[in-house]
Amino acid sequence: MKSTFAIIMAASVASTAAAQTYRLVDLGTIAGESHAFLVSDTGRVVGSSTKVSAHFVGAELGTGPASIGGVPGYGETAVFAVDADDNALGVSYSLGGLITQAFRNDGTSAAALGGFTPRAVNASGVIAGTAHTHDVNGFVLPQACSFSGGVLAMLPTLGGVTGQAFGVDELGRIFGSSTTLREAASRPCMWSGGVARDLGTLSASASATGQAWGAQGNGVVGASQNASGIFRATRWTLDSGGAVVSRVDMGGLSPTTPSYAYAVNAAGDAVGTSGFHAVVYSAGGAVDLNTVIEGGAGPWTLEKAWSISASGVIVGDGSLLGFPRAFALYPCSGACCDDIDFNRDGLFPDTVDIDAFLSVFSGAPCATPSCGDIDFNNDGLFPDTMDIDALLNVFSGGTCVR
């Protein structure tokens, strides 16, 4: 593995997000653009990527992009979650269609689960998502739903006719949004025991909008409109009965810049976007992930952090020279080395990368269209034989050395 993950997992430390620096990895694409929606606690990265036909396919990212099969007969596929048994959960759908098909792919084949989009799953296998149902009047409306034990259940609304679900915690509580009576507002919502609860927004206005995306313990994250109508990343704190005891603005890149939080890990670190820059939220507010990359962001703009693992690995969507591209950020522990895919051919670990590094190190030009730099351990010293040691060390599963 493809072992970039194993290497990083061993070396990573998830804490003090504000001071944390990261190594940026291009997760690649099958042929076109790519999006990384989830990094699991085991380090698996899934999402979607366009293929040569330009349709989206479910994608295994981080190990060299590969497709994850969905349900045949649909034009597009995206994978959003991985369950405790390492099955990929995704949706197949057609642009302009009214039907979506959830699936579970066990690595061999995809089994259809029903007409919904699975967005998250907990360790017990409870899936949260959104179904498109035909109501009694013939409308096709999104409904928050859960899927567990083979049963797809629609979740009630807050009085309106639509809902969406994006997250589920280990208690089986589901998070999302629902409209209120007469479609007056779309409110952040938590479903527990089959009951929908309005989590409230940063604004006192009943017409303010918001969405809850996930939870860790008694802390729920998402986004809601504040008194100025701006979406801000929001952390709701619940009491033991699930009642909201506080709502806090998690920050943004400026006091007036919109911000959103999509995921939170076991350490309580949350990620999202603000001002269309990927951010990690800490006690001090939002940190622009573009500013904490070892060696700088270069041609990248990291736009949206969708997920953070228990070890602090962050994945999301970026722009590489203007094209949508999935990225991963691996926390640096002390030193942070470059990507071991030195020749940028998408193959790693690969001894050709060592050959390429040594060749460039000795003054030869890069033999592929693009290569990394020879300051592999990013200590500012080059040419430096310590960079060779660092490359070999990381290549063999060790840590970055300086």
Binding site: F56, L95, T130, G138, F166, S186, Y260, P299, T301
Partner: protein, 393 residues
Amino acid sequence: MELTRRWTAWRRRAVLCVLGACGVAAAMGLQPEPESYVVLAANDLGMHCMQNDFSQMMILPPFNTVHAQVIRRGNGPDIMDGDVTVSFELPTNTHSSDKTNFWQHAQQLLGAAVPHDVGVTGTGMRGAMTLDAVRRDYVATGIPVTPIDDDGKENPYPLALITVRNASSGAVVAQTQAVVPVSWEMSCNLCHSTPGGSTATDILQDHDRLHGTDLVHAQPVMCASCHSDNALGAPGQPGVPSLSAAMHGAHTTRMDQSGLQNSCYACHPGVRTSCQRDNHSAAGMTCTDCHGGMTEVANPARNPWVDLPRCGSCHSRPEFEYEQPGTLFRNSKGHGGVMCVSCHGSPHATGPAATATDNAQATRVQGHAGPVDTCLVCHTSQPDEPFFHSVEH
């Protein structure tokens, strides 16, 4: 009331609907009900394109427009231009500021900041639609919707839910769904691709090289700041061709490079997101059959977005009027004042369309896709007079 008289006259002249269609309508619960309403909605163009990255240049901002016409059903139906309120929402696509960097660059591009999640006309992602007294429908202009649903899926055809309420009681009296189509499938990169550089950089460099400008150092650039653009209401600079004339003219001889069967989809959305997905497409017609080729569209004498194909250029039938004189299909009325798009659907997505989402409204109100042609959608009893297509009869 004039309206009622007009609709009563129409009722007297309307034809019996096809028995089968009426049967379907009845089966779907469209039995006559006192004081019931129907609302028919349509997007203005059938597809709006936008960019996903505004950091270097802007051709078109996030901007979408949806119309809704409310009809009080009856033996003589009334078009409502009062006594109701109309609102829209996009249930799967409720915010945009986390899906595009438009708002980060709006100040530089437009010379004025635009509030986040609000379009250039002040319309948000949900809210009230305003009465257009001329069209006699309700409109939301400039919705800043993107082709990404909240959950991250690409969705160029998000369905708006449009709700009509009694203005006095607030009670919901009618609802419908209509596609608010949007795509950023503009594949400039098919040709504008320099290794190590962005597509926008390549475009700006080419412009500088060919026209002696220095756009590379003036980023972000709004094309319409020099090239007039009726889509944005931008007057441009004197002596500079319109954006449409410049773009089509500059690329006339280059489109073969795209390698696409329909080369229009190299720049317009698109191979996947199908600007054209209407009944004409199903009949084998393509863009140029109506719009003409690149040279014709590039004609500087043409007034872009105004000089557009006319239905009557191909369609003719005695006593049928296929747009009002001097008025585009999208702005025309027929049949007693009903907007053409209310029954036929949006331009480029006229029914039956290739996409189920575009057919959803017609299917719901009458049981089948295609133009709304079932009398009992609006009439509470079957008219006994021949149907007429024109505004007046």
